[in-house]
């Protein structure tokens, strides 16, 4: 009944699943106007929502680590330290912050839409707070250019991803928590 090693194993396997989902998310993209929306950060958000701060961070950190090792896991099959410390590296570090903050704010037994949305928005603000100053510094851009390149085209996509992530958490979290805890402590409230 919920002993910590069994729980730990479950969360380890699920964290690895989310790492794999983040990797695949970098290859999947959905067209939205001119800018395709990649799904990597979407799965980072879900990792935070589903796994909580500790294991969400572990999943995102493993993703960054595998890429740094030279495995082609970053968006578009890129890899290596050159990408990690290149123009978009801030977003990769931002992923870890995103998963952690989403897990920190949202982590609780009973999912609430408002709380999840707050967590997702705060996490996304932090993601861009890492990504854009980094982009500006590495490429020597003006603030205006950095925002045009790194933020403006992605706002509609981010909004859509936040909404869908919150909706999915609402639908799947009760079931997920039940399977993680693997006992009857969790009351079923799927009608919410």
């Amino acid at each position: 009944m919920g002993e910590s090693t069994a729980l730990n194993l479950r969360l380890t396997v699920f964290a690895a699943l989310f790492t794999a989902l983040i990797i695949i998310g970098g290859y999947l993209s959905i067209p939205l106007g001119a800018v395709p929306i990649a799904l990597a950060d979407f799965f980072v958000m879900l990792a935070g929502l589903f796994l909580g701060k500790k294991w969400g961070l572990a999943g995102a950190a493993l993703y960054v680590f595998l890429g740094a090792l030279g495995l082609p896991v970053y968006a578009g099959g890129k890899a290596g330290l050159a990408v990690l410390f290149g123009p978009t590296g801030g977003f990769l570090f931002g992923y870890m912050a995103l998963a952690f903050v989403v897990g920190l704010i949202a982590s609780q037994k009973k999912p609430s839409v408002l709380r999840n949305l707050t967590a997702l928005i705060a996490g996304n603000i932090l993601l861009y707070a890492f990504g854009i100053p980094w982009l500006k510094t590495v490429l020597n851009l003006s603030w205006e250019a950095a925002l045009t390149a790194g933020l403006t085209p992605f706002i509609p996509g981010a909004v859509i991803k936040i909404i869908v992530a919150a909706a999915i958490a609402q639908a799947l979290l009760p079931r997920f928590n039940k399977s993680i805890a693997d006992n009857a402590e969790q009351p079923e409230d799927e009608e919410q």
């Binding site: 090693t5 069994a6 194993l9 479950r10 380890t12 396997v13 699920f14 964290a15 690895a16 699943l17 790492t19 794999a20 989902l21 990797i23 695949i24 290859y27 999947l28 959905i30 067209p31 939205l32 929306i37 799904l39 979407f42 879900l46 572990a58 493993l62 680590f65 595998l66 090792l69 030279g70 495995l71 082609p72 578009g76 099959g77 890129k78 890899a79 290596g80 330290l81 050159a82 410390f85 996509g157 859509i160 991803k161 909404i163 869908v164 909706a167 999915i168 639908a171 799947l172 997920f176 399977s179």
Partner: protein, 255 residues
Amino acid sequence: MAQIVLFHYFPRNSILHDMDGRVKLICMILFSVVISLVQSIPSFIILTAGLILITLLAARLPFITLLKDMKYFSILILIILLVNSFVIPGRPIPGFPLPGVTIEGVMTGLMASWRLVLIIMVCAIMTGTTSLITLKNVVEWYLRPIPLVPETRIATMINLTFVFIPVIFDTVSEMLSAQKARCVEGRRNPLKRIMFIAFPLLVQTFRRTEELILAMEARCYSDDRTRAVFATTAKDWLILAFSVLFLAVILFYPF
């Protein structure tokens, strides 16, 4: 993804395959660092020639097949070249029909995309000559002396991640064909389209993960595992010394 051979392991009998994974990882990191630092065209050419020789002779990888798979990166390479050509300010190219393209831009773009190709080559050599299990063991070995890092746990997660990737790809392709048959592609609403991908994907992969957890629990999985044994030979140190020498010449010799 399943058709791409670029980052697959090729079982062969070569110098690099026999090499100690720990030393190989250091060489790989050194090469990547030098590639991201070099600035001049001659050093690029020498590095490219060196890597081609390593691929053919030291690693005995199928170079032509790998080269064909570079086409998956061609769009990315083209984008890097184009963006740089237009964005970097400088002198316009005399007699070139398109306005806005600068000499400096084309040069920077050429370097950046060349750099990307070289890094892809280094990664392909590493993953082509090292099995995933060895790579995992090497990572575990390097993490061992670091305090507070659960190296066995991380190694397990790396393994699991690469177990999941083909599972997820299968699920995605199955799902997309099922949805294509039901004309979901006609939907323009991006909200609905993400929902239609993410929701079934998560439900399916969660179920498969549950099965995997059950299998691991049934086999009493724990972190107390037999550690991998490594052996370094004189040949490994020789290769390392040679790599350092080669890279130092490229980096510091004024071409």
